[in-house]
């Protein structure tokens, strides 16, 4: 259904791999900080889903927008966020993206077109539609990539948003990151459809499921959908089938799935897959891959140190930021 994407230049392939390593390293550090009690509240890790985030967001250009989800660290990093400011936000520091007011679930980088993670499932979907309308009315060529999970596909906002975007031909790409569980509820139990992408037919727009752990497949599908959106052909629905290795949040005991299932999906790791592909094509060697990986962990460590050395918000600033 979608056209083939252009061949990726080597620099971009490497950059995508680097970003995937960075997301993995960031999430692992966050996991560790929670375990150690250094972070409070809750967090939702996207380990295992790096392919979808990086593949999709690599298809965007400057001036485009994204709306993200509660599992949004990867989207934020892929959209070019400074991980130092992200780590500072998660540690509740004044230097964080949201001055410590938002935390993991609300990181946004409005300047970069990241309209934020969202604590409400499907909460970003109507907003993405509005951004699409805004771009269209302003005659801008930019689009909005609306990222949501499989859980959101059963919210009313999913239906209302996609329908509105469809009837108005809005430049929005709806990307369902299907990690197969809404907390503990599997998609098999939550819907009769085989795929979320099938639902596109209900709105008269193209829909396609692709392997979400294959960063190039996601990149290709989203690129084609972005092209449609930019050229006034309206929205598309892409579903990336992927898997989260970690629990929903820190309270998760993984009672609803087997260790075997998790292990099976870990064998299809998106980072490993892409690194091996680049190695097999002679674009990278093992040492080079190791080096990239090590650099990601070093950058995250530096971000952590930056956050640690940052000041907490001053108590007297409590009331700031409610109204413009």
């Amino acid at each position: 259904m979608f056209e083939q994407p252009p061949e990726l230049p080597l620099a971009q392939s490497l950059s995508m791999l680097r970003t995937m390593y960075l997301i993995r390293a960031f999430e692992e550090k966050v996991d560790e900080l929670f375990m150690r009690g250094e972070m409070h509240g809750t967090t939702h890790l996207s380990i295992g889903q790096e392919g979808t985030a990086v593949g999709a967001i690599s298809a965007l250009k400057s001036g485009d927008f994204i709306t993200s989800t509660h599992r949004g660290h990867g989207h934020c990093i892929a959209r070019g966020a400074d991980i130092r400011l992200m780590m500072a936000e998660l540690l509740g520091k004044e230097t964080g993206y949201c001055r410590g007011r938002g935390g993991s679930m609300h990181i946004a980088d409005v300047e970069m077109g990241n309209l934020g993670a969202n604590g409400i499932v499907a909460g970003g979907m109507p907003i993405a539609t509005g951004v699409g309308l805004s771009m269209k009315m302003q005659r801008r060529e930019n689009i909005c990539l609306c990222i949501f999970g499989d859980g959101a596909a059963n919210e009313g906002a999913f239906h209302e948003s996609i329908n509105l975007a469809a009837i108005w031909d809005l430049p929005v790409v709806f990307l369902c990151e299907n990690n197969q569980y809404g907390m503990s509820m599997s998609t098999r139990r939550a819907m009769r459809n085989e795929t979320v992408a099938q639902r596109a037919a209900a709105y008269g727009i193209p829909g396609e499921r692709v392997d979400g752990n294959n960063v190039l497949a996601i990149y290709a599908a989203v690129s084609a959908a972005v092209q449609r959106a930019r050229t006034g052909q309206g929205p598309s629905l892409i579903e990336g089938l992927t898997y989260r290795y970690k629990g929903h949040a820190k309270s998760d005991q993984n009672l609803y799935r087997s260790r075997g299932e998790i292990r099976e999906w870990q064998k299809r790791d998106p980072i490993q897959y892409f690194a091996n592909l680049l190695i097999s094509e002679g674009k990278l060697d093992q040492a080079g891959a190791k080096q990239e990986e090590a650099a990601a962990y070093a950058a995250v460590e530096e971000a952590y140190q930056f956050a640690l050395s940052s000041p907490d918000p001053a108590p007297e600033t409590l009331l700031e930021g409610v109204y413009a």
Binding site: M125, S134, A324
Partner: protein, 348 residues
């Protein structure tokens, strides 16, 4: 139902010339929308049946013809998408004015209004703006029963990040809406459906009524009646009757609940020593409780000669039958009686 002619108010219109013209509340709203659309290309309208139909109450009639389909957007019946779409457009450079056909239907969009629109700026550390206006008719009096007649203003006023306006006159409907569209924050603009056809004088020159400034709708010294939305009109009618008995009631219209002009309310309470609060919403959790608390917690407390009386809707959904519907919410006579009751109280 008795509706008196709105009075001219000195504080209503900042910087306006003296000349006024008569128009209805609905026409005043349309005029504000039209003038904003003419002066700012970012302003556009969206909502159910606002185009060729002109809106359920005819407020947007003629705007489609003047501004076209792109800026007067008919939407499907999708309240959540209407709200969220307006918020997304506001976040990315537009100035949407979204209409809900009835404020009762805003309950279908509460996630977008309360969890998203109201909080995005704060959650993002003050780095975003959401200049959106949500217009909706509230209130009873049209025989539309329980799901089309509520007064839910207190729900919205409870949420930091929103501003809430309830105009009671054509002049304020015009002036407050212009201010709301200029606001960089989300504004819930609640129009009383029984006021749409009520005429009043509106300044000819373009002007706006600042959000957060109460109006002294009538000056008086014996008691203060603080009334919301259509109750301002009923309070003025009751005050007219009281005046014939030599009782001078001061009628205050807060006009916006958030921000609330506490200063004007407290000053009047202090001056008269007796306070009657009237709104159409039920008393439990109603905004009158907030107003009473603010006055009781202020220096006006020491000047009160009687306990504050609150008059509000009966603790029921709005009934259909015409007499029951009337009895469910305060009428002019109820306000008149309550004023007498308040005046009979003697300080201990």
């Amino acid at each position: 139902m008795t509706i008196s002619q709105p009075q001219t108010r000195g504080t209503t219109t900042a910087g306006a010339s003296e000349a006024t013209q008569q128009m209805t509340y609905g026409e005043a709203i349309r005029r504000a929308l039209r003038e904003e659309m003419l002066s700012d290309p970012r302003v556009f309208l969206m909502g159910e049946d606002i185009g060729i139909y002109g809106g359920a109450f005819g407020v947007t009639k003629g705007l489609l013809e003047e501004f076209g389909e792109e800026r007067v957007r008919d939407t499907p019946i999708s309240e959540q998408a209407i709200a969220g779409c307006a918020i997304g457009a506001a976040l990315s450079g537009m100035r949407p004015v979204a209409e809900f056909q009835f404020s009762d239907f805003m309950t279908l969009a509460m996630d977008q209004i309360v969890n998203q629109g109201a909080k995005l700026r704060f959650m993002f550390g003050g780095k975003a703006q959401v200049p959106v206006v949500f217009r909706a008719p509230l209130g009873s009096g049209a025989g539309l029963a329980a799901q089309h007649s509520q007064s839910l203003e207190a729900w919205f006023a409870h949420v930091p990040g929103l501003k809430v306006a309830l105009p009671s006159t054509p002049a304020d409907a015009y002036g407050l809406l212009r201010a709301a569209i200029h606001e960089p924050n989300p504004v819930i603009f609640l129009e009383h459906k029984a006021l749409y056809r009520v005429p009043g004088m509106v300044p000819v020159a373009a002007c706006e009524t600042p959000l957060g400034k109460a109006a002294v709708a009538r000056e008086g010294k014996h008691l203060t009646i603080i009334a919301l939305s259509i109750m301002v009109q009923r309070a003025l009618a009751a005050a007219e009757r009281l005046a014939k008995e030599g009782i001078e009631a001061e009628v205050i219209d807060p006009r916006t609940l958030r921000p609330l002009d506490e200063e004007t309310l407290v000053a009047s309470a202090r001056k008269t020593g007796r306070v009657l609060i009237v709104h159409e919403a039920v008393l439990t959790g109603g905004f009158g409780g907030e107003i009473a608390a603010r006055i009781a917690a202020s220096e006006a407390f020491y000047y009160l000669d009687a306990p504050i009386i609150r008059l509000g809707g009966a603790e029921i959904p709005i009934p259909y039958q015409v007499e029951l519907e009337k009895r469910a919410v305060p009428q002019e006579e109820d306000i008149f009686q309550a004023a007498h009751l308040l005046l009979q109280q003697k300080p201990a």
